[in-house]
């Protein structure tokens, strides 16, 4: 089966990609937690106890990791791991990569207001709230590299 045209992706693929990315962020956080444990054990092995994961710290760390991860992925290639698996790419209206600033803004908006994705289900052009605000689009793109100039959105 050949790759589809670069048309806007719907809520299901985008939701699945988001779920995969969420799992990856959680895995990264778990890795950070285990790494912190080892560091503590290394520097104070006598009075070692398992740290209580403070909710505030965890949430802020989650936001930080997620924003970093999404920004880097979208700015560099337009695709996170979830997007790679589902064959998606985040592009600007003219089909190019969205750049670091817009990637950062989009990442913050996506992490803080994840429900904005739901709008893609009802929007006529399958745009999330973040897409509408930042004039971006998520398209089907099964190719590994971005082919500028043939956007479907």
């Amino acid at each position: 089966m050949s790759a589809p045209a670069h048309r806007a992706a719907g809520i299901v693929t985008r939701g699945l990609a988001c779920g995969i990315d969420l799992a990856i962020v959680m895995a990264v956080m778990g890795g950070i937690y285990v790494g912190a444990l080892f560091v503590r054990l290394l520097f104070s092995p006598q009075e070692f106890t398992f740290p209580d994961a403070s909710a505030l710290l965890s949430v802020s760390m989650f936001i930080g990791v997620a924003v970093l991860y999404l920004t880097a992925c979208w700015a560099v290639s337009g695709r996170t791991v979830g997007a790679v698996i589902m064959g998606l790419r985040v592009v600007s209206r003219n089909g190019e990569l969205i750049g670091w600033l817009r990637a950062l803004l989009r990442a913050v908006l996506c992490v803080m207001f994840g429900f904005g994705l739901l709008w893609a289900a009802v929007d006529g052009r399958r745009r999330s709230l973040q897409d509408i605000l930042l004039r971006t689009a998520v398209v089907y793109d099964w190719e590994p590299d971005l082919h500028v100039g043939e956007p479907g959105a």
Binding site: R7, A8, T13
Partner: protein, 217 residues
């Protein structure tokens, strides 16, 4: 004779008898020769000789007949008394005898086709109760007698396995299968996702009374 050994009485007796016989023969021969010279005696002698010859011949035939009868009787009795099979088995080297037999020539002379033509195989088969034969065969005992381990021991499994593995490009197969597997899986997920997207879009479109597909402009 060196004089130290005592003369053998038997030899002495035989020697004396031979000397006496020789003297008697010479005396008789001399008597006959002298008588022949006398007139009228020779024809009598010839007649006597012929008569003697005939008598001897008759005695010969009689002796032959008697001997035949006696021999027949003796052999018959001997065969009754003697177990010939045992004697042959004990004293005859049958292997050597068998070596001398040209089996190939015998086989050449036998017309196997003619024999086979006379054999009524269906009749034989009718008479054989295969089920009974099969029932008598103890398969377990046969299997018990087979030493599977020794059979396996004779097969060099390592060499066999090496040969098989050499013939198979395992890395290539694994690479191709995993490649195609992951490709197929990813393609399947993506295609299913797209179809689900379209289904959701269609459902929402109907819900809001929009056209069938969103315009992607």
């Amino acid at each position: 004779m060196d004089g130290r050994r005592a003369p053998d009485p038997l030899h002495l007796a035989v020697g004396a008898a031979a000397t006496a016989g020789g003297a008697l023969q010479r005396v008789i021969g001399f008597g006959i020769d002298t008588a022949r010279r006398l007139p009228g005696v020779d024809p009598v002698l010839v007649t006597l000789e012929e008569r003697g010859t005939e008598t001897l011949r008759g005695a010969d035939e009689l002796a032959d007949r008697v001997l035949h009868a006696v021999l027949r009787k003796v052999v018959q009795v001997a065969l009754q008394e003697v177990d010939l099979t045992t004697i042959v088995r004990d004293h005859v080297d049958l292997d050597v005898v068998a070596e001398g037999i040209d089996i190939q020539r015998i086989i050449d002379r036998v017309d196997v086709d003619a024999i086979a033509a006379r054999v009524d195989i269906p009749q034989i088969l009718d008479r054989v109760d295969i089920d009974a034969v099969a029932a008598r065969v103890d398969v377990d005992a046969i299997v018990d007698r087979v030493d599977v381990d020794s059979v396996i021991g004779r097969v060099d499994l390592v060499v066999l396995a090496d040969t098989v593995i050499e013939g198979v490009d395992l890395p290539r197969i694994i690479r191709e299968s995993t490649d195609s597997m992951s490709n197929e899986a990813v393609r399947g997920v993506r295609t299913q996702g797209m179809q689900a997207d379209d289904a959701v879009a269609g459902f929402v479109g109907k819900l809001f009374g929009r056209g069938h597909e969103p315009d992607d402009a």
